[in-house]
Amino acid sequence: MSPTLSLGIDIGSTTAKIVLDDNGKTIYQKYERHMSQVRQKLYDMIAEIRPMLEGKTFSASISGSAGMGLAEDCGIPFVQEVYATSEVIRALEPDAGTVIELGGEDAKVIFFKGGIDERMNGSCAGGTGAFIDQMATLLDLSVEQMDELSLRAERVYPIASRCGVFAKTDIQPLLNQGARKADVAASIYQAVVNQTIAGLIQGRTIEKKVLFLGGPLYYCKGLRQRFAQTLSLKDDEAIFPEYGRFAVAFGAAIYARKAGKAFTDESLFNALTLGLRARSASNRLPPLFATEAEFDSFTARHARATVPQRRIETYSGKAWLGIDCGSTTTKLTLVAEDKALLYSYYSANLANPVGIIRQQLIKLRELCGSRITIAGSAVTGYGEELVKSAFGVDIGVVETIAHFTAARHFKPDVDFIIDIGGQDIKCFKIKEGAIDSITLNEACSSGCGSFIETFARSMGYSAADFAGLGLRSRAPVNLGSRCTVFMNSSVKQSQKEGATVEDISAGLSISVVKNAIYKVIRANSPQELGRNVVVQGGTFLNNAVLRAFEKELGADVVRPQIAGLMGAYGAALYAMKLEHSTLISAEDLAGFEHTSKSAICQRCTNHCHLTVNTFTGGRRFITGNQCERGAGLKLSGEELPNLYEFKRSQIYGLKPGENRRGRIGLPMALGTLELAPLWHGIFTHLGFEVVLSGKSSRRTYEKGQFSIPSDTACYPAKIMHGHIETLIEEGADTIFYPCLSYNVDEGGDNHYNCPVVAYYGQLLRGNMDSLKRVRFLHPFFNVNSEKELAREVYSVMRESFPEQAFTKSEVKAAVNHGMAAQAAYRDSVRREGEAALAYARSHGKPIMILAGRPYHIDPEISHGIDKLAVSLGFVVVSEDAVAHLAEMPRVRVLNQWTYHSRLYRAAVYATRNEDVQLVQLVSFGCGVDAITTDEVRAILEEKGKYYTQIKIDEITNLGAVKIRLRSLIGALEEREEAHA
């Protein structure tokens, strides 16, 4: 007979839980954070209850991701946690429909109706609880405080739900733009909810009642609220059981009985002691310093890179102020007439940069007194516009230019600059004193810098102490370099294997550096970077990062003593061209007040969510809008040509036609955004009313997000689901999205579509239940031969509409009509493109080829970037509007996708024309663009053109886009000055 007493242990990524169960009755339970000291913690927790176990026989089992190796080492039965959960729920809540369980690292969903289906999140969506913890740190709140605040939210901002890194990228600017913390807190929870839905629900119906389990859902009331609201659950349908945190441990206790292994207190402790001793060796790297001498010479070398300073207390004369309001830190510098540093300040934002800057300005005004006149001021960084309007700062300067200005002053013969800040990584190649190329990180590399700091703080160290420990590491752990979500998960893994803080600190530094070198810079060799490399940004103040960078590069670099202040210093230098400043006076500072509220812009159908900041004196600053209109700014008066707008007017403007034979819906996404004239032409000619699903909005995506099976697919594909839903709502009884292995042949090695564009119809058919209610046509078509296409269309129409008696000749005529419409559209785009070029040249305007894909015309996909470019003064043309003006270049890759070959030709056109710049739009998750981006870049850079890449996804923070575009403009100006 198995013993009545059973011990269930659940060790997750952040917490350990134990329950002691006597014949179905809980006699003890405990929940504690284990700070990654898994084995010791468990030993201690069980030691506490040893008296309860003495003299008894009992069963025991371990569950949880961190328990896996431990169970093996100790010889205690192991049960997978989701399995354990479903065991316990089946026993306790037989009428449960769905379980949603969030842990520190993993999210799980179990469906009980219609056969148990258990799911865990994919690798990208890792770190649910860990993400909430990190976000609380970012808001400078405890998790409890953040939760409380979230309940007072007035609105929820859309935040990327793809992963923690993307979400953070969206949250940081919100904070810096003055969004209310309460609203941000609620939005963070909403992001968690959306991520769970997109990643795990994937089209299944959420049967009631729904049980919510796991630590975060037990503690965070706001998170519960968001889940219930999003899934439209009534109070009695959303259950948050008291035992929620212990569900897995209970499951383990149940399993323990089945496993049948009996323990006594002595045998259990013997087993646990075994576990304490075992240490698995994980993947380690060589230390940062092999010898003490190496360390000494490193320290001595970097101590030499100083800037001249002057005492502000004694200086009198003119001075210039530079402010760098970065994503995570705020920096100020004041420079004297000889460019010496008079004052500097560096602090974490603590989610309130305006407050920090106000204090600093008060202090500065005091220090300056009447001796020092501030003759000019400039601000840079994410908070540039906010700070500019709040304090009357004279000029804003794009951060790339600010950093470049500082580095060049520091080392006039610099060849290469890399700046790793809290959120971003920026690299510049310098040739003949001008910027040769600028590379900025994309979303995946974001937040590396601040990650080290946040992590250090969570371990109870200051950033400097933490770095110091890393320098002493003998065996740094290898934590990978993909992104901070993956690194975080690797850190936890290594801690469980017994890695020390020293090894983790060094490992993190190496990971961040590898990310910068292999994902952002992507240099072939140290020689390519040149002899004079300057590294800067707050992250390089970490000596372990600095050392790791030198080691990975195999060369020495220069780190200015003021590495963290370079943006502010550069801004101050930039301001030196000014004579009189509009900076806020000491009196106004005293009575300075700042309020922010949210609003919805009513100026166009986008209805952007706005944050309106109001400052004393009636100055206002509005953010969140996708264009300049909502910001209360006047348009420049003249409407510059914009091919994206033109294409939209043509594609979305197609008229439905008369309904003689039925209604066919075209989902306006992926390939149809180019081939709509063809399909529309064929179907209207055949007597169908063609229903278009129209432009997308965020709402379109949300409507379809429940049926997306692969959350790592690109946004243009994922939004397709919403378009299908829209068409069904609008009563289309037939929906058409063809499978096209081959796209239009325009030369090149071949003319494929990518697998996603080509076959998304197959996925829709299998994953969208709503499609079962309509006729869904997803035939394989050849769009290159009128004859073939007519044959194929005829066979599809005859099969799908047997009652309609289509004749061969009418189909032939319809296809002929469609092909002509498509050709007319193509020609009109080219003609319009040429007209735009001519306009730009006759009006002296710069031209931007916004090179992407046909589906990037959707305003929800490209987030109004075309309009932004126009507002910055560019005439905007699309890749397909100019590709015909250049021949196909010889590329080093297989050039077998139609959309890609246009990119290559457009790039060639850009190289031939002084007044043309190319900016490439890349959708996140586009695997094929890993190949095209390198190639387009090579074509441009070979001829001395700048390459700018903009990665776009579900949500795009236009701030980051603006930085890229303004950097391009800034670099062009700099180059012109240098050559003048």
């Binding site: 991701s65 997978q80 399995y83 370099s481 993956f486 994902k519 299998g766 010889r890 190949i931």
Partner: protein, 416 residues
């Protein structure tokens, strides 16, 4: 190409005599045999059987990190071999498969050349091995006859792999199955070397292999059957899937992996479908139809031999797999593993293997459609199937992968 000058280093006839051709590893048993076939025809082939963390580290260094994991691994394996000092880089060529399909994998070879350039090794010739003649290498021209021989090597490999998988979890003497598979592969290679008409003795070869495995002392208990499907490299290569097969065997499962021969047959079949669907490439249709029939024929020979023997599970005929695919996907889906991938899930389930792991590189484009995208319809039609998708990536932690595999295994044991 508008210009006549080639953008790649050709493998010349002179090189054939003195260059060692390094081959990346994907399926050790198969590749050892294929290499022997090529050696018979005068190529100095060598299979890279290296493993270890430096491979992926090297890959990350030289390949765009957003590229798929298989490319990072294979290129990493090549470059670390070239940098190891074991070879004279001026006397080495590399070989890589290229399908010319619509998935970015057809660009691996170009990424490899870019990586070589980065590493200062741009002079090393890279041979594109392809049915589509995408490149021209005068020193490496395979006749239809050689292709036929290679196909046989693949068939033998498939049988070896299948027999090995069916014996390994039951072996009484640990390690014996692995040793036997190695030994038989060696003997088979020797036979290929000495008997140039080996492929006319297929039946004898099959019998020999089955007898050898049949004689292994084995336990009689019943193990959980777990199938592995997925992106071709990650599915097969232990380097790519963190030794998935070993993990499953350690957990007490019997692994069932569909053979490589089906993938090759698929490669020919989709070209036939192209002609049928789009009316293109009509001229090569007759030749390809013949090739397709020959392949089916050869496979049938193997299947019949295994069935007649009766001791082991025989492969499912390609035509049956094709038929099963129609439940959820159309034949026109040809990029990556195309319709074959969901078809293999269905085939495994159909033949009693209800637990299936779909292994794929993180962010694999065709897999959005044919892998993850087909799971819901398959589960709907076959609620008994226990399917899990596992992503592989340089940064993914092993614990996360293992945890999901364990979940699948515990579900499997609940249901059985």
């Amino acid at each position: 190409m508008p210009e006549t000058e080639s953008y790649y280093v050709r493998f010349t006839e002179d090189m054939k005599k003195e260059y060692t051709i390094l081959t990346p590893n994907m399926l050790t048993l198969h590749f050892r045999l294929m290499i022997q076939v090529l050696r018979n025809h005068g190529y100095r082939m060598e299979l890279l059987e290296t493993d270890g963390p430096e491979i992926v580290e090297t890959g990350l260094k030289y390949v765009h990190n957003d590229t798929c994991y298989p490319a990072i691994l294979v290129i990493g394996q090549f470059i670390s071999a070239l940098q190891s000092g074991r070879y004279d880089p001026h006397k080495v060529a590399l070989i890589y498969f290229q399908t010319g399909g619509g998935c970015r994998a057809s660009n691996y070879i170009n990424l490899l050349r870019k990586a070589l350039k980065k590493a200062g090794l741009e002079f090393v010739p890279v041979i594109s091995m392809s049915l589509s003649a995408l490149e021209d290498h005068p020193g490496f021209k395979l006749s239809a006859g050689v292709f036929m021989e290679l196909l046989h090597a693949v068939l033998y490999g498939d049988l070896l792999m299948s027999l090995h998988n069916q014996c390994k979890p039951y072996e009484l003497n640990p390690g014996q199955t692995d040793a036997l598979a190695d030994d038989l592969t060696r003997r088979l290679a020797e036979r290929i070397r000495t008997d140039h008409r080996y492929f006319s003795h297929n039946e004898a070869i099959y019998k020999e292999l089955m007898d050898a495995f049949g004689a292994l002392p084995r336990k009689k208990d019943k193990k959980l059957l777990v199938g592995i499907v997925g992106e071709i490299y990650i599915k097969y290569s232990p380097l790519g899937n963190n030794h998935l097969e070993q993990l499953l065997v350690d957990e007490g499962a019997e692994v069932v992996t569909p053979g490589l021969f089906d993938f090759l047959t698929f490669g020919i079949y989709v070209k036939l479908v192209d002609t049928r669907l789009y009316g293109i490439n009509r001229s090569r249709y007759p030749v390809l139809s013949i090739a397709y029939r020959v392949l089916l024929n050869r496979q049938r020979q193997l299947i019949e031999a295994v069935r007649a023997d009766g001791r082991f599970r025989a492969p499912t005929p390609f035509t049956r797999i094709l038929e099963l695919s129609h439940e959820v996907i159309d034949e026109g889906v040809k990029m990556g593993e195309g319709w074959l991938l969901p078809a293999e899930m269905l085939e495994l389930n159909d033949s009693g293997v209800h637990n299936v792991i779909c292994a794929q590189p993180f962010g694999c484009l065709p897999n959005h459609i044919v892998g993850k995208g087909m799971m819901k319809p398959i589960k709907e039609k076959h609620p008994e199937i226990n399917l899990v998708a596992i992503d592989y990536d340089p940064g993914a932690t092993r614990v996360n992968q293992e945890n999901r595999i364990r979940l699948m295994l515990s579900n499997a044991s609940r249901e059985s």
